[in-house]
């Protein structure tokens, strides 16, 4: 519909700052979403410190460390891809994003094998071995599956997000002057990284 008068501050204008603010606000909700789980973790760990310690020995610290490195690297490539596009180098930006997606895939594959190994050993809710675990250790594994599962889901969402942005860069709708969407997906990706930064010591490095 055509209109004859338009207000200076309008909800119909493209406003990079607004969209960035919106993204940050959304990230807060994500932080608190995981925050709820961290609360549960804290309480149960305080109530069952020994069980958590023993249960944590079932995880492989090295796989966890590799995954941490993978995620940190992908965070760097996303950050660099933003620099690239801001400097007008869309091609480099695309390459860096592709690397990010590749890292995400590596992360998920490693997680798949980790979970797979757990399930093979019967550490899945409801399996015989699992239900015979001592008091408190079951809670550890419930939390482990719940939190890393939810995190994995976020990795997938972040990946999809980045793929969409890649398409937009290719067709030019994200460019040197207009790249808030890329920045936002970068922010989201860093958040996924941030959460992992806490999950890693809390599950793998209990001593």
């Amino acid at each position: 519909m055509e209109h004859s008068f338009s207000l200076p501050n309008s909800g119909h204008n493209y406003d990079a700052k607004a969209s960035k603010l919106g993204m940050w606000l959304f990230l807060y909700t994500e932080l608190l979403l995981f925050g709820g789980l961290f609360m549960v973790y804290m309480v149960y760990r305080a109530l069952n410190p020994d069980a958590f310690l023993i249960a944590s020995f079932n995880l492989n610290v090295w796989l966890g460390t590799i995954n941490t490195v993978v995620l940190l690297t992908s965070s760097m490539t996303v950050a660099m891809s933003i620099t690239a596009i801001q400097k007008g180098n869309s091609k480099l930006s695309l390459i860096l994003l592709a690397l990010t997606v590749a890292a995400a895939v590596i992360f998920l594959v490693i997680k798949y094998f980790e979970w797979g190994a757990k399930i093979e050993h019967g550490f899945w809710p409801g399996m015989d071995h699992f239900t015979n675990l001592p008091f408190g250790e079951q809670l550890y594994f419930y939390l482990y599956f719940f939190m890393t599962g939810l995190h994995g889901l976020h990795v997938v969402v972040g990946m999809v997000f980045i793929l969409i942005v890649m398409k937009k860069i290719k067709n030019g709708s994200q460019n040197k002057n207009k790249n808030q969407l890329l920045e936002n997906s970068g922010l989201y990706w860093h958040l996924v990284d941030l959460i992992w930064i806490y999950l890693f010591p809390l599950f793998y490095l209990i001593h």
Binding site: S4, G11, L31, L33, P125, L139
Partner: protein, 537 residues
């Protein structure tokens, strides 16, 4: 470009057809979509409420079975909380008037706004879908306390999912409003020149944004336990049901301020308009909203005083609970002072606003009673609590909602309702409310627990009084709705500014054009409520 104002069609007329509504990006239409949907679910909730009252008219089984009763109060609670009162004022009036009051033409993210309405609809379908799918609606109470919510065979999963989706919708609304307020205020309008309704919405939005994720994840945990067997609250393996309560109330206490703050915002608009003078203590009212929102995060434990919480925790939570009462009382006193030396026009919206103060006082003061540790041990989970929250939610927020509806009705549709009938409806609703809920307070002091399908004979009389009150109230509601419906159909045309209001929504036409203004709105000099005709002291 120069458009003459006459050539601008109103937002109601620009396009026609169902699709132009359900896929609209116009914040005003989205506000109306919310009004119609929220209103319909509210009526469903009212019917369920009345069914409960009928069952409780006499002790023993009368019209429904125990299990059905339990499902009815759960569905009533879920509908009233998640489908009615939380979205009510922000999503209806906030959507419609926030951009206009700020002097802009839409919210910051119109598409997200539409999406949040759709999420609301999907959530509502889930919530009511339990009537058809699975073994009937949940029978856990709206609090879904574990471990019962994990054990029962009713369709808790779907209800919980509904609450999750609705939470998402509420988060998106909050996010949208915060960005709108930060980025889209008319040039020259600082934070302290915003109308108080915007301030109230700002505080509310922060609660929606930061508290809702917690209930989201908590409900997911219940879902995970029911569906996948991930028993995080299962006492048999060392889980703690009380932890669930902590998490639930970390959201649900702040949520009561999601319900109350926007209502206070509406009252802060209505009172200066009908007093025709500036509001008393603008900053105190604005900042106390933020104060309530902030302190409100840290008092959740007052719902758990008898649940085995430690003594030191209990007194910290109790003390903090009392501290939230202070910003609230500041607001009440400011409203009173605004009446002082005003030039008061007793119109329907003002009546609702003043009734709000009265009811909210009863609700708030009974809140103080249950905030005190000793008294709460006696009164927790009795009808006293039921009385308390109906007074604040229905007597407070509900009244502010209807007050807002009467206040902005002429602006939204450009029509005027019959004021005499509206006043009659008001009187009936007000009397009905007090007959309905005051007896509950007494019942609570006598010791009648809530969520009781059946009760001992000594509680009989007061329950009957209360049920009669519900009939009176519904009569009033029907009169009100019919009055508004007739006005909507064939009411007289309303002027652009029927109440001589001064905030920006009264500067545009009734109903407003698609992009809200056809000329630059003028901000009032010396604050948003500085009436030029009033004397200065």
């Amino acid at each position: 470009m120069t458009g003459t104002s006459a050539s601008q069609p109103s937002y109601l007329d620009v396009t026609k057809g169902l699709f132009s509504w359900i896929f609209t990006l116009d914040h005003k239409r989205i506000g109306l979509l919310y009004l119609y949907t929220v209103g319909s679910f509210f009526l469903v909730g009212v019917i369920l409420g009345v069914i409960m009252r009928l069952e409780l008219f006499n002790p023993g089984a009368d019209i429904i079975e125990a299990q059905t009763y339990n499902q009815v109060f759960t569905l009533h609670g879920v509908i009233m909380v998640f489908l009615f009162i939380i979205p009510s004022i922000p999503a209806v009036f906030g959507n419609f008037f926030l951009p206009i009051m700020l002097g802009t033409d839409d919210v910051a993210f119109p598409r997200i706004n539409l999406m949040s309405w759709w999420l609301y609809v999907i959530g509502a379908i889930f919530a009511l879908g339990t009537l058809i799918f699975g073994d009937g609606p949940a029978d856990t109470g709206w609090t879904f306390y574990a471990p019962y919510s994990v054990k029962t065979g009713t369709n808790v999963s779907m209800t919980v999912l509904a609450a999750f989706v609705l939470g998402f919708s509420s988060i998106l609304t909050g996010l949208n409003f915060i960005v709108t307020i930060h980025r889209l205020r008319a040039p020259g309008m600082g934070f302290n020149d915003m109308p108080l309704f915007s301030w109230a919405l700002y505080a509310t939005s922060w609660i929606q944004l930061l508290a809702t994720p917690i209930i989201g994840i908590t409900l997911l945990m219940i879902l995970a336990e029911r569906v996948l067997g991930i028993g995080l609250f299962d006492p048999a393996i060392g889980g703690d049901p009380i932890l669930y309560q902590h998490l639930f109330w970390i959201y649900s206490h702040p949520a009561v301020y999601i319900m109350a703050l926007p209502a206070m915002g509406i009252v802060s608009e209505i009172i200066p308009t009908f007093s025709q003078r500036t509001i008393f203590g603008y900053k105190a009212i604005a900042y106390s909203s933020m104060g309530i929102a902030l302190v409100g995060y840290f008092v959740w434990g007052h719902h758990m005083f008898t649940s085995g919480m430690s003594g030191p925790s209990a007194w910290i939570f109790s003390l903090l609970t009392f501290f939230v009462a202070i910003p609230t009382s500041i607001k009440v006193f400011n409203w009173l002072a605004t009446l002082y030396k005003g030039s008061i026009d007793i119109e329907v919206p003002l009546l609702y606003a003043l009734a709000f103060i009265f009811n909210f006082l009863i609700g708030g003061l009974t809140g103080l009673v249950v905030g005190a540790l000793a008294a709460d041990v006696h009164l927790h989970d009795t009808y006293f609590v039921v009385g308390h929250f109906h007074y604040v939610m229905l007597g407070g927020t509900g009244f502010a909602f209807i007050g807002g509806l009467h206040y902005w009705f002429p602006k939204m549709w450009g029509k005027m309702y019959n004021k005499a009938v509206a006043k009659l409806a008001f009187a009936i609703i007000f009397i009905g409310l007090n007959i309905l809920y005051f007896p509950m307070l007494i019942l609570g002091v006598m010791g009648m627990p809530r969520r009781y399908y059946d009760y001992l004979p000594e509680f009989h009389t007061l329950n009957q009084v209360s049920t009669v009150g519900s009939w009176i109230m519904v009569t009033g509601l029907i009169i009100m709705l019919v009055n508004l419906f007739i006005a909507h159909r064939k009411g007289k045309k309303a002027p652009d500014n029927p109440w001589n209001g001064i905030t920006l929504e009264w500067q545009t036409k009734s109903p407003p054009p698609l992009y809200n203004f056809d000329k630059m709105p003028k901000l009032a000099k010396g604050g948003p409520y500085n009436y030029p005709n009033a004397k200065n002291s």
